[in-house]
């Protein structure tokens, strides 16, 4: 297995091809254009695989839904404004229980915003995003190696639960370069899905729909989806815990923000501040139980996000009042240095100590 130096957008595309992604449909938007470009060049090299530059994000997500219905592994990607356009289709995927992988290399918002990295789409990704009572599995990689690995996992989770999976990156993850090792071999064929619509040859006809006019049936469909989400919440939580053993303070951060947090924590530890990190990898399902359990020994929680405070709400929900939460955010594409974040850590550490608030 070769180590390769690659750009994040190329990594997710290459990993998808290796994971057996049969179709990619996308529409250009910065900062994720290299995904479509890589797919255009490399996906058709594999027999029977298709790249289409769609006429819009609406078309792209619905092409993806069409491909998913035939049982194919399919991916689409975009950045914030484009992901907003895809939400209708994602809602249909959730309703029809169709697997697909959707990559969001988030940029600053709202509106057109800018093309700088941001974590402003956390709410949109983790709360469903479109209309209706549904959830998407949301993965938040913090390195290109993890991006490669999670892309494989995203396709598996999508198929396992027949649910759309969102890879929530940002412009930084998409544009930066790091060494990556990919899983081998490239998946060229996958077992047929017994629910797929492929033509009713020698079997009863099948249908896929999200319209259920009967209220009783629709309620049951919603509960069925809910039960599936409960199973996912129970089985698929992923997180990384760093230096929690002796920690008196815990920082919670995800994605590239967690990379900055690691740097800040290293500096703080050098200063003698016992601080650890919880890094949710699945943003939905959020590691609720783990964060709550951490509050047994620690009362001070710091939350850092590259937005004005979105994941911090999940931390609050997880803690159920068991700890004090201090938030630090940089929205709109600003990226703080570990030094800046270090000040935030030490300020709250010494304040809490002074107030006797430390557990």
């Amino acid at each position: 297995m070769n180590k390769r130096l690659m750009r994040g957008n190329h990594v997710v595309a290459e990993a998808a091809i290796r994971a057996g992604c049969k179709c990619y449909f996308g529409y250009p938007i910065t900062p994720q254009n290299e995904i479509g470009e890589y797919m255009a060049e490399n996906l058709p090299k594999h027999k029977g695989r298709t790249f289409i530059q769609a006429e819009s994000e609406l078309a792209a997500i619905n092409m993806a839904l069409g491909a998913a219905i035939t049982g194919a592994r399919v991916m689409t990607s975009s950045s914030s404004p484009g992901i907003s356009l895809k939400q209708e289709g994602i809602s249909f995927m959730a309703g029809q229980e169709m697997p697909a992988v959707i990559v969001n290399m988030t940029r600053g918002g709202p509106g057109l915003g800018n093309i700088a990295p941001s974590q402003s789409d956390y709410f949109q990704a983790t709360r469903g995003g479109g209309h209706g009572d549904y959830r998407t599995i949301v993965l938040g990689p913090n390195s290109l190696q993890e991006l490669a690995d999670l892309t494989f996992i995203a396709f598996d989770l999508a198929d396992k639960y027949r649910n759309p999976v969102v890879i929530l990156g940002d412009g930084l993850l998409g544009q930066m370069m790091e060494p990556v090792v990919f899983q081998d071999p490239i998946i060229e064929s996958l077992p047929e899905k017994e629910w797929a619509l492929t033509g009713a040859e020698g079997r009863p006809s099948r249908l896929s729909r999200s319209l259920i006019l009967d209220t009783k049936e629709m309620e049951e469909h919603n509960w069925k989806l809910y039960r599936k989400y409960e199973v996912i919440s129970k089985n698929e939580v992923r997180y990384e815990a760093v230096e929690l053993e002796d920690a008196k303070m815990i920082m919670v951060a995800y994605g590239v923000a967690a990379r900055i947090a690691r740097g800040a924590i290293k500096r703080a530890r050098r200063e003698g501040i016992p601080i650890g990190l919880i890094r949710p990898i699945t943003l939905w399902p959020f590691p609720m139980d783990f964060v709550r359990a951490a509050a047994t020994n620690v009362s001070q929680f710091l939350v850092f996000e590259m937005n004005t405070g979105q994941m911090v709400e999940d931390v609050k929900l997880a803690l159920e009042g068991r700890g004090n939460i201090h938030f630090y955010g940089r929205p709109g594409g600003a990226i703080p240095t570990p030094v800046e974040l270090g000040w935030f850590i030490s300020r709250h550490y010494y304040q809490s100590q002074k107030q006797g608030a430390m557990r």
Binding site: E55, A59, N62, L197, L207
Partner: protein, 262 residues
């Protein structure tokens, strides 16, 4: 004794939910008959629209999926690119195709997607209660053009078939009128040509159906047929709009006799 008429084997025995005199039930039957006659039930995937025909899967006994409003052509594209030897049908109304789904339709046609669109043009939004559609005729009264369609405010009737005919990747477009037994036979013939063109890998095909909507037109079924012939067909002239089947690369010779069989 020779059997000359029977219930199509690919229609499920459910009562149509369509209004009396509606064109959808006729078109559903035609599609089901053709797939049976062509022996391709196992190779057919249909996309139902948001609109009156959303429940098409209650009637068609072949694999059917429903699309979001206007996205039929995009979904059909996704299906066809994965299953290249299948017959993929997108069944759409005029609000669905000519308003919210115009972009998907034009670009699917321009890419020459090997799909067939059955385009039901009844000059209004049927399912939502008879609102003005892009295809609504000038001066025609609908619930959202209560004084009649005014071009200054609402623009002109949109001729989708003629617009699409300009695109070189389109193999076949015909407009037919469900306003007489003869029109119904013509519709079936036209759809067969389109299906064949798709299966011969020639290009994009679309059949526009001028289809009665007695309920929203506030007419009897009989009056509706008459109105199609006397008013609607003046705006939307039935006939072959474009036929590039012979020019298309990889196209097989058109089977003349079979086509003329009925």
């Amino acid at each position: 004794m020779k059997k000359v008429f029977e219930f199509p084997r690919l229609l499920k025995k459910n009562y149509f939910h369509y209004c009396p005199g509606c064109g959808h039930s006729i078109m559903h039957r035609i599609v089901a008959e053709l797939i049976e006659e062509m022996g391709i039930r196992g190779k057919t995937l249909a996309v139902a629209p948001a609109g009156c025909a959303v429940l098409a899967y209650n009637y068609w006994d072949f694999d059917t999926v429903e699309a979001a409003h206007g996205r039929g052509a995009a979904m059909a594209t996704g299906i066809k690119r994965c299953l290249k030897d299948r017959l993929v049908i997108s069944y759409q109304g005029d609000g669905d195709l000519a308003a919210i789904g115009t972009s998907e339709t034009i670009h699917a046609a321009n890419r020459g997607e090997r799909i067939t669109i059955i385009f039901i043009n009844n000059a209004n939004y049927g399912m939502t209660g008879g609102q003005m559609a892009p295809t609504t005729l000038l001066d025609m009264r609908t619930t959202t053009s209560p004084l009649g369609r005014d071009p200054r405010n609402d623009g002109y009737p949109l001729h989708i078939s003629e617009m699409l005919a300009m695109l070189p990747a389109v193999s076949y477009i015909e407009r037919v009128a469900l306003s007489s037994p003869k029109g119904i036979m013509k519709a079936k013939k036209a759809v067969r040509k389109a299906f064949r063109s798709q299966m011969n890998d020639e290009g994009f095909s679309l059949i526009e159906i001028l289809s009665p909507c007695p309920t929203n037109w506030k007419k009897t079924p009989e009056q509706s047929w008459k109105w199609i012939d006397e008013v609607m067909a003046k705006e939307y002239a039935p006939g072959v709009i474009v036929d590039r089947r012979k020019e298309m690369e990889g196209a097989e010779p058109v089977e003349k006799e079979k086509e003329d069989a009925d």
